[in-house]
Symmetry: D2
Subunit: 336 residues, 4 copies
């Protein structure tokens, strides 16, 4: 079978399609024919060796993939041939709070990922895809959607009526928008593009803020809550925007740090954290249980991921380029 | 001004309309012209002296009422004349978990309630009614709706995709139905009346179970979850049904005990609680913060209470009789 | 190697010592030379076929055992030969809240247990024993101590200054006593034996209640809190005592149902649950994470288990008999 | 009666002792004869107009005071003359999570404080002092001790066996040390003074780090946990030290931001928050319920505050000077 591999940094220029033999599967393992893959901003960082602390490592990229079980090990109880499954981001984070050991099992980073025609995974490292989902749709979930879910339900609990502030229209933000609306929340979202804001509105956003025209988007968000502050910010910017998020959030509110798009470090006004008793919560994807809980929410509410564009397996490099160009609204998928 | 008073037990036959003088208000008090009241099953129990442990006490009945602020004390900061407000069930439960002392401030039970043309309450004991709500609608909220909210968010946290099982179509169950659907949950509801189940379906119920035809409704509910069990049961029956709820709920699930309609005591199979690691959580209405949070959910999701029938202030006794007949689907309101 | 096996119900009379061959270990498996085993009341129930819903099943008994790693599979990363380890009660419950699937991996019940000279377990199904612990001491922890820990920290959180009420001086209660005292709580404990109460006092109990002389122990416990009620009851009785526990606990308090010693069913006054907003929480042992957290507490506070008596491996049946006689104060251990 | 007042910024030079008449008390008010006051670093900031966002405001200073009830209003139920009480920091934060409105009722800042011979407070704004406590001891609790308690139990839950890292030997850190030890935790503490570290060790600290000799105290703390990381840091430094705390804390751990001693802003590495799924939690003193819970812990564990020095009422300015000199180890108290 064929598999992509990132051979050397920097960037995805070294992405190469190689012939590979996976060998016999162990008693608790499952062979999956991958049918679709999706890209995340993290995949660009991995390719550049800018993800994690170890620098670039050769790896089969992509955390996100879905496919069909084609063979199960002798002791497997969770799956049978023909089951439609998606891999979980960290293969060993099954349940409970985060723990240090899980990161060593992250697909497409710490270990080989999904950008291959076939993968062999432990039976515990998979979930059933939502009923009625295509493989392309299912492939969008493992990283971005689970991250959004974890931000809402992992350490706090989104309530109907809460106001959520989302930054930009990237993968996590769009899933956060859909999940928050399904949960009865009020959603504000920012973007530099009025066109993308119109599309966010169509997806259910209650309020949109163009941060080109309203540079102080955190002030605008605060104002839109009648100066109560938003209940939760899903912070994708990181260093460069955290301070603004602290201003937008209400007394006792939560800022979920899920990304570092605006920089890996920034000035933070600690008196704001203290004086408003804010929780700043790091969110690093999520557990299998979260994925399964989220899938129930997806099914119960008929949520469909926004897919911007589908590439063929042979066009993987083009998919990376398109991701890097940052024009997309919704997920970038590769069909196998 | 005129006020109803329950003069002597048993029952609401002793309900009497009397002339009353409330006197000057204190610095932190607010005078409210009551414009609407709603009845709860609890009001029948209070009238019968079957509520709480003290037996019958003479009292102005009704916990639930909404109206207009007509006068504020010299130190009041939360309200001004003209504000539209509803009283909170326990006047001193403002925030946080339940505490023993709060019960002594329950309207229409421990202290005089809302069935009067005017009431004087501490400024802390009121909330603003949801935007766009009529007084009749707002009067339905303080007891039943806040109880449902507390069951979902008070000690646990309802997630989108959770399955909620509701017993019957009383006030708490219908609010629970609407709040759960707004929060993206899947709702099952039972009734002995197919007609009421049709109406529940119109309100959003995903599954309905007629417990006349399916006597073992808990088995049916369990079956409908593919034998996973429901995530939460809102237990209105109490002694007579708790055991069935334990069977319907999933491993690690929650049974919120909010009522005692089916009896004040019953056999409970403790191994079920232990072996499925179930939480059985007593829910006794809720705090002002819960009421305010719920109102945000109501506004964000356009929830409207189901009102069965509106009586005039002079027809209070008829309203009690109608409540006792148990024909209603939705709240019974008295317009002042 | 030699292994005990429960061949047929009823009771432990069928306990037999057989020669057994475990065969080669898998890549993620670990061979452990068992050095000590401890008994729980549950082992009596398993022997009688009174545990779980399937009736008697032939099985190697005992959930609790500790020993030395003697061989590790090719892919094992968590252990090396010579490591001192104890098995976890449910081999697949590693972290997070309870889930239905875990029960199928309970040692000495659903699957073969620790009453053998050697066992082969997945590397994930073991924890390191506390520093300085003997194998005899470590063997006491997996069921009783982890249950007590879960009651305190699994779904709620014991705070310093909380009052905990313990029923009797069985294994869970004694660990609960020691863990609660280490955590700065105030502990009340009941027994029918003044002698056992003296020993409980020596272990740190603040208040002791002899339920022979004070039959209404729940009233006495309530009185000892200045009528505030205790914060948490560790309910080992179940059906026959739950109602009393509901009376002893404070408004908003917790009753952790961990046992069924006094019966599998009982009359429960649901209005107490509702009116005092009590949480009744089923506790079924606990996860590996809980075990590890507890071990840190054991080490930080120098907790030593109370061992009543140590039997030789050949005396297993006598150990069961001694357990059944219920004279012990502390754990019954079998040395291998 | 006599009362101190901060008349004008900057600094406590403007502190003046004036004659004052408090007038008759309201129905829910209580007159307290103040018997002791304690100072906090916050009192220096208030005097300098550096606390909060409004700059300097004339005010009776001091949040912390204890005394005797000498008169109660006609409707008061919680107190009677002779009761020994302490004021709560924010007079309206009785229970539950923090809310924006509470800050407006902070003693000795937003409203007049305790540095007076007599104060009049709402009956809700007081707690009973711990049994056996002197007024001097009780006066140390409202700000520093409740802050430490809130850090441990307010939004997370300290468990026995957790490792807590404390910065310096100020008021909050010393209470945190004592409360954490009472709760069975392991405590690490830093200081620039070996002498103070010796005293911290006498109070129970398990590990001490002199940050003069070990400049990278966060690396040393991490090392002392066998590279697991500490469970919780009580961050008193703020801007200048938060980043180090993020390095010391374990995956999934908590940094409680309670102070800004090292600066009001600082560079924060957001990838650490994200990648280790850290919670950074702002802690702003705490509620009355927390104070009462803490008092139970104090009583159950015989905790006594560390008092460095007691000044006479006439020496208030000298007490401020001594606070500013930062030589103290333990609380600075003023006896009235």
């Amino acid at each position: 079978m064929k598999s992509y591999v990132l051979k050397e940094a920097p960037g995805f220029e070294s992405l190469d399609l190689v012939e590979k033999e996976l060998g016999p599967i162990g008693p608790h393992e499952v062979r999956v024919r991958v049918r679709a893959i999706s890209l995340n901003y993290r995949d660009l960082m991995v390719a550049k060796g800018a993800y994690g602390t170890k620098g670039f490592q050769p790896v089969v990229p992509a955390s996100d993939g879905a496919g069909e079980v084609v063979e199960v090990g002798s002791a497997v109880t969770r799956w049978k041939a023909g089951d439609k499954v998606a891999g979980i981001f960290m293969q060993t984070w099954l349940a409970g709070p985060p723990a240090a050991s899980y990161a060593a099992s992250a697909l497409g980073g710490a270990i080989d990922g999904m950008m291959a025609e076939e993968v062999v995974l432990h039976e515990d490292g998979l979930v059933a895809i939502p009923a009625g989902y295509s493989f392309e749709e299912a492939a969008t979930l493992p990283c971005a959607a689970v991250t959004a879910w974890n931000a809402f339900y992992g350490s706090g609990a989104l309530k109907a009526g809460d106001t959520v502030l989302l930054q930009g229209t990237g993968g996590v933000s769009l899933f956060a928008l859909q999940l928050a609306k399904a949960a009865g929340a009020r959603v504000m979202i920012t973007s530099s593009s009025d066109e993308k804001l119109v599309r966010a509105k169509e997806l259910g956003a209650d309020e949109t803020i163009n941060y080109r025209t309203k540079e102080n988007w955190e002030v605008e968000a605060f104002r839109l809550t009648d100066s109560r502050g938003v209940d939760q910010v899903v912070e994708v910017g990181g260093g460069g925007t955290l301070n603004r998020s602290l201003k937008a959030v209400r007394y006792g509110g939560t800022v979920s740090v899920i990304g570092v798009l605006s920089g890996t470090s920034g000035e933070v006004a600690t008196p704001l954290i203290l004086g408003k008793a804010i929780r700043v919560q790091g969110i690093y994807v999520g557990s299998r249980t979260m994925f399964e809980d989220m899938n129930r929410a997806i099914e119960a509410n008929g949520i469909r991921p926004v897919i911007d564009r589908v590439f063929e397996f042979s066009e993987a490099k083009a998919a990376y380029e398109y991701m890097e160009s940052a024009q997309h609204f919704g997920k970038i998928v590769i069909r196998v």
